[in-house]
């Protein structure tokens, strides 16, 4: 009799785990992060050099976001597909109060191995905010004249490797100059940078000392 009740209880738990777990899983994977507003022109106050002879892709990442590993895999595929046609920068967010070395994760080491890509450490995500990035994995693409071509993510879900609309659109935009859409959903952990979301005016209103300290931390990866 007890055995029967144990099995009935286990059956109910099983059903709840199937339905509930499946729903949580699907909702988690398919819930996009917040995508900030990106300027239609390359931010004039950016410390990143915009390429004048090829398109420039900037992707903001949180070094500890597990979902961003998938974004790095997709970025690698993207850069291989667009070899010589685009230059990429990976902005690695680093809160100032965190100890040195906190930002050195497998996301960053993965980014360093991607061709034509430079890793940039970004104190408090100030630089990411200039590009309107609010979620780890948000990518913005500008043409050689500094015009915004694309703003969105390059994964199909949170931490999900595989074909995705963002990747297809960037490839199409760089190769043919057109795509069905110029954006896509972004999946990743919130960057939650100190000044995020930063419009140009918000950045200008930020305390000068804070901005200068942030700029001084910007460290262009010399290995690339």
């Amino acid at each position: 009799m007890l055995q029967r009740w144990i099995l009935i209880l286990a059956g109910i738990i099983w059903l709840a785990a199937c339905v509930g777990g499946g729903t949580v899983l699907l909702r988690y994977s398919s819930t996009a992060g917040e995508r900030g507003n990106t300027l239609s022109q390359w931010p004039v106050n950016s410390r990143i050099a915009q390429c004048k002879d090829e398109d420039t892709l900037v992707i903001a990442v949180h070094p500890h976001c597990p979902c961003t590993r998938a974004s790095m895999v997709e970025l690698n595929d993207l850069m291989l597909a667009l070899k010589g046609k685009v230059k990429a920068y990976v902005l690695v967010m680093k809160p100032r109060e965190f100890p040195a070395g906190w930002e050195n994760t497998d996301v960053v080491s993965g980014a360093r191995r991607i061709p034509d890509t430079t890793v940039v450490f970004d104190l408090d995500g100030v630089e990411a905010a200039r590009f309107g990035a609010k979620t780890s994995g948000q990518a913005v693409l500008y043409d050689e004249k500094g015009r915004l071509l694309f703003n969105g993510g390059i994964t199909a879900g949170r931490g999900h490797i595989g074909d995705n609309p963002g990747l297809q659109r960037i490839i199409s935009l760089v190769k043919t100059g057109k795509a069905d859409k110029n954006d896509s959903l972004v999946f990743g952990c919130p960057l939650n940078a100190k000044f995020c979301p930063l419009s140009r005016s918000t950045l200008e209103n930020a305390p000068k000392g804070e901005r200068d300290k942030s700029f001084s931390y910007l460290n262009f990866n010399k290995e690339k």
Binding site: G11, A17, S30, P165
Partner: protein
């Protein structure tokens, strides 16, 4: 021994062979249930380790929180494994046990694919699981498992197509492309199941035939011994 021993069996022997086959089949189901009981527990431990080592934390800016994968591995993994484990323990060989196991095994594929961020390598779990289920030699289990895969693709295809196909507006038949590879494997596995059942049935018949021959030999030996004893008695007299 002839190629078709069934023709040599009497109806009583055939009944005995059928009974033996059913006993062997039930014992085989029980053995498979037992194997899956350990597999379910192993997959649960593996999923927790995967979540702990691969994605233990999620981040919201500066705030570190336990990653949802960890909760899913512990609670969803435990929730889906517990029932088949208990069924295998308390009701081995029951038809419901192996159907719950087949269903759960395919759920494990979906969970592990998510926990590894959709790695293409983890999709092998689907095909490996189908092969494991086929070892039951019970083809309806393959139908059960295949329907779980197709339903998962159909459902996610409608609700969230990008997660399955990587494009926003896939054609309605796109799930068939994915299902095709599963059905492709199923064809061979179905054939193996039928062959397995046929083999088990034939073994049962052969065993009955051998037992019949042994019985007949024993009778002949007994008769011979009796005759010898009678002859010896007659000789003494």
């Amino acid at each position: 021994m002839t190629n078709n021993p069934a023709t040599e069996l009497t109806s009583k022997e055939m009944e005995k062979a059928e009974l033996l086959y059913q006993q062997k089949r039930t014992a085989h189901f029980e053995k498979m249930d037992h194997m899956f009981m350990f597999l379910m527990a192993a997959q649960w431990i593996f999923a927790i380790l995967l979540a702990v080592l691969y994605s233990p934390y999620g981040w919201e800016g500066k705030q570190k929180v336990f990653h949802i994968h960890l909760y899913l591995a512990v609670f969803m993994g435990g929730g889906i494994s517990l029932f088949p484990i208990l069924l295998a323990k308390f009701k081995p060989g029951w038809i419901g046990t192996r159907h719950v196991i087949a269903f759960t095994q395919m759920l494990w594929s979906a969970l592990l694919i998510h926990l590894t961020g959709g790695r293409i390598e983890t999709h092998f779990h689907v095909f490996v699981s189908l092969a494991f289920i086929a070892f039951y030699f019970d083809w309806p289990l393959l139908v059960n498992a295949t329907l779980v895969v197709v339903a998962d693709h159909l459902l996610r295809g409608f609700l969230y197509p990008e997660s399955v196909y990587g494009i926003v507006n896939p054609e309605w038949w796109r799930f068939l492309e994915h299902a095709f590879w599963v059905i492709f494997e199923d064809v061979i596995l179905f054939w193996s199941c039928f062959n397995g059942v046929k083999g088990m049935r034939e073994n049962a018949r052969r065993q009955v035939e051998v037992e019949g021959l042994l019985e007949s030999n024993q009778l002949k030996t007994a008769a011979l011994e009796m005759t010898l004893a009678e002859m010896q008695t007659a000789k003494k007299a």
